[in-house]
Homo-oligomer: 230 residues x 2
């Protein structure tokens, strides 16, 4: 398809999305032959709300934020790591994207036509059920996000965000955030100033240890409590 040298290869790719484990070597070869591998720099937009949803994107290396825009406001719905896929939510439904995604660091993104993915879904039922599973996992996250964003006050929302980053995204109590303060605000649906203020408050109250983008959880218990009481 394209002749540029590619860094990765679908068959041996160590960062494969879970559902691709259900594909045979031949099927993976089909994907490999029909994908593009694109290097994006930090901050660059990899897909744009309102644009066509012709491709499924795979973050092979790096990370991204997925967000929706309305007027000049932005809401970050989720953080995506290597292994995550973008665009499954358009499959068999509509071909216009309802969100944008931008890289949080220099990243390698694979792009595969939705046609190829649709074909594989039709031909491999294990792949199909795995796609359903992936879609439903995303939806499950949405439920938590929507509760956090609509039912909790700033402290609860920020506690949710910190717990999400440490537990689900980085899987460590001590992390190096890839998000700016504004990003954190866009993730928690508050003003940048509020995010900064409460982050500082958490630091002063010894709930977290925060130095620039280095964040360490000191008290899980208090964060969980804040998340709970909202």
């Amino acid at each position: 398809m394209n002749n540029r040298k590619k860094k990765y290869n679908c068959i041996s790719c160590p960062k494969k999305a879970n559902c691709f484990d259900k594909l045979s070597k031949e099927e993976l070869k089909l994907v490999d032959d029909n994908r593009l591998e694109i290097k994006y720099n930090k901050g660059e937009i990899i897909c744009k709300q309102g644009g066509f949803a012709y491709n499924i994107l795979h973050i092979t290396e790096g990370s991204a934020k997925l967000y929706v825009e309305h007027n000049d406001k932005k809401l970050i719905l989720s953080l995506l790591n290597h292994t995550d896929l973008i665009g499954l939510h358009s499959l068999f439904y509509n071909n216009v994207l309802e969100y944008s995604a931008a890289c949080l660091e220099n990243s390698y993104i694979c792009s595969i036509s939705t046609n190829i993915i649709s074909t594989l879904i039709r031909e491999n039922i294990e792949f199909a059920t795995s796609i359903i599973s992936t879609l439903n996992k995303d939806t499950s996250r949405f439920y938590n996000r929507i509760i956090s964003l609509t039912q909790k006050q700033l402290h609860g929302r920020l506690a949710d965000a910190i717990l999400h980053f440490t537990k689900e995204i980085y899987n460590s109590d001590e992390i190096e955030l890839k998000l700016s303060r504004k990003d954190i605000a866009d993730f928690t649906g508050m003003s940048t100033e509020s995010a900064i203020r409460i982050l500082k408050e958490f630091h002063n109250d010894k709930i977290i240890d925060l130095d620039g983008k280095k964040l360490k959880i000191i008290s899980h218990q208090i964060l969980e409590k804040l998340s709970e009481i909202g």
Copy 2:
């Protein structure tokens, strides 16, 4: 499966969910043989957040509200009409429900084991892709909901709700709401008092005509504008 007389029959059911159109007569027979048909009264809960997600529910007659709860607050995520299914989001992912549903009027609900649905998905790829389409349609609605709830102020949120009810739920400019004022507040994420006040304001400003639960749109244009500016 059960011997009580049933009002409906899957093969001839006029209120079939879209994806069931993809099933053969034999497959529909399998569903019909394995379903329960339950009559619920207005206000009764048909499934509960935190409970097991063993069944897919189909609203054969009536309507329901689907909501999430946190502490004592409630957020209505969507209104469900006859033909809508509940529970697809648990398929192949988890067996605990993340939301509750309650009837808005006396309703007939069919209950089918997720096992039957899973089997059909595995055996009928058209059904499977139709399920994916349905799931993604729901997700698409979520995007709109989350933008409305997090990025817009009260007037914009209420305009969104009115447009949603008239355009997507009832498909008419003149409707009879099944929701209480509190329900409208829970749908738009505001206090009951605010919902009442702004509804009245819309009425006084001749944007809508509201008499109890009878609602009629007078100015689409203003509602769309309010929705847009948020």
